[in-house]
């Protein structure tokens, strides 16, 4: 029997032990695609985090009425709802972010992290814990995606959140391109595994 879940174990698992990007390797498509700058990474992380928290909470509330056989379609409906709301909010108040994230905001509706957590956690646990599970995993996702964005921005463009740290002409532009995203994500996963050590999920 597993140790009893608390709010803190949920946060701890989400951020470290089962970090969605660095340990479970979920939701890698947006992670690799939009992290050209730290700002994009942070924005994408927050968008995914909010959708994750709300979806998990509502799926957990509805777990008794969701038919086992057709649960996937229900997950999509729920996460697509929240994604649409977020997308409209972004379009209205942060048009520049919405533009730089492009199609990946809408693709949050089918992000692997959301399905993974919905199916593995929210469906078996009460809404309160599911909420904090979502917060933990959302923070874990945001953390890694922002770090990746920051590293790529520093190396590839020479700035961090728009502030120049490396003079122009000394940047490693491959870091801002797709191959660099793969290299650096692999490095981050390696570091995360090292930090995680022997702690199992």
């Amino acid at each position: 029997m597993q140790k009893k879940d608390t709010i803190f174990t949920r946060l701890y698992h989400g951020i470290l032990v089962e970090n969605p990007t660095a340990v479970l390797c979920l939701g890698l498509c947006p992670t690799l695609a939009v992290t050209t700058t730290a700002k994009n990474g942070l924005a994408m992380g927050i968008v995914t985090g909010i959708v994750l928290v709300l979806s998990e909470f509502f799926i957990s509330l509805l777990k008794r009425v969701i038919p086992k056989k057709d649960r996937m379609i229900i997950y999509v409906l729920i996460s697509a709802c929240f994604t649409t709301i977020i997308q409209l909010v972004l379009n209205a108040y942060y048009p520049d972010i919405s533009e730089s994230l492009g199609v990946f905001v809408s693709l949050t509706a089918v992000n692997g992290v959301i399905f993974g957590r919905a199916d593995n956690y929210a469906m078996q646990n009460n809404p309160g814990l599911a909420l904090f599970d979502g917060i933990g995993f959302g923070i874990g996702y945001t953390l890694i995606i922002t770090i990746l964005g920051a590293v790529r921005e520093i190396l590839g463009i020479g700035t961090i959140f728009g502030i120049r740290v490396i003079p122009d002409g000394y940047t490693l532009s491959i870091a801002a391109l797709a191959p660099g995203a793969f290299f650096l994500l692999a490095c981050i996963i390696a570091v995360a595994q090292k930090i995680k050590g022997g702690r199992s999920a």
Binding site: L172, S173, I174, A175, L177, P179, F183
Partner: protein, 315 residues
């Protein structure tokens, strides 16, 4: 005295040969000496400095990696020296030293050591590093200075539709990367490699053959016939010979079966030519070789020799 009589029992293979990794690598270094010497003669002391920096950076990063990871130090196989040398010969002579260092560290640490060291790398480290630098520092990697002026390489002249001096290209008195300009020096080294039986003729032969056939077909359609000087100019430029004899023949990243080597060489020729005629002028050889490296395991799979009597019914 009975213990003395115990015979030494060893696992196969029982045929012994003096060949060793370090000897083969030494032969490659010797074969590259004419091209290196000519590069230094052609481009001056900066080229020599760049070569030394690359070799030193490669050797040092392998040493530090081995020490840091508490592994056996593998410098004695000389492969780091070869990687550094080949990388340096592929760089423009006036490249900043720190870019060369980044390339060398990338070659050794990321491409070679992270995958388990020599024999485990799935790409030729020097070639992968060249592509890495080409993508990262496109401007600086394509600025070729010759006789104190930035001048187009014969490859670029050719691509722009200009005329090139074939004799000078053969001798190497042209702009370009340090080691790739002199076809003569590269061929002298290649002859040495063939005499020492270090490289198999199949990869370079079919590489160059496929390339020549492709160029000929291209010139039939675009120039109304096979143009000998156009063909020769393409064969002598852009590091094709360097790639065919020294980079594509890397043991680790090329297929071992004879048929596989023929396919591998032909694939490289076709890729190089496609990139060169329809893509950007520089780096076509390097890009072709890393793609070929990735295809090598597949080529190996389809050309694997079947043991007699086994698997015949499957076909």
């Amino acid at each position: 005295m009975d213990e003395q009589k115990i015979l030494r029992i060893s696992f196969f293979p029982h045929i012994r040969d003096k060949a060793s990794t370090s000897r083969i690598m030494l032969d490659v270094i010797i074969a590259l000496l004419p091209a290196t010497a000519f590069g230094v003669y052609n481009f001056g002391w900066r080229a020599l400095l760049l070569i030394l920096i690359c070799v030193a950076a490669c050797v040092l990063s392998e040493l530090l990696w081995d020490l840091g990871m508490k592994k056996r130090v593998t410098l004695r196989d000389l492969s780091a020296v070869v990687t550094g040398l080949i990388l340096a010969l592929n760089l423009p002579p006036t490249l900043d030293w720190w870019i060369a260092v980044i390339g060398s560290v990338f070659a050794i640490v990321v491409v070679k050591m992270l995958f388990g060291g020599l024999g485990q790398n799935f790409m030729n480290p020097a070639v992968a590093a060249k592509c890495f630098l080409l993508i990262s520092f496109a401007g600086r990697m394509n600025a070729f200075v010759f006789q104190n002026v930035i001048s187009a390489t014969p490859m670029e002249v050719l691509k722009a539709g200009g005329n090139v001096d074939l004799l000078q290209m053969f001798l190497g008195n042209t702009s370009g990367a340090i080691g790739e300009t002199s076809a003569l020096a590269l061929l002298i080294g290649a002859v040495y490699l063939f005499i020492r039986r270090i490289i198999d003729f199949r990869i370079p032969l079919f590489y160059i053959l496929a390339f020549a056939v492709y160029i000929s077909i291209y010139s039939i359609f675009t120039r109304g016939g096979i143009d000998g000087s156009f063909l020769a100019a393409h064969l002598l430029s852009g590091g094709l010979l360097m790639g065919a004899f020294y980079m594509a023949t890397d043991y680790v990243t090329s297929p071992v079966s004879p048929a596989g080597r023929i396919i591998y060489g032909a694939v490289l020729g076709v890729l190089t030519c496609t990139f060169r005629l329809f893509g950007s002028a520089t780096g076509s050889v390097a890009y072709a070789i890393i793609i070929g490296n990735l295809l090598a395991p597949l080529i190996e799979k389809i050309t694997r020799q079947r043991s007699f009597g086994k698997g015949a019914h499957l076909r």
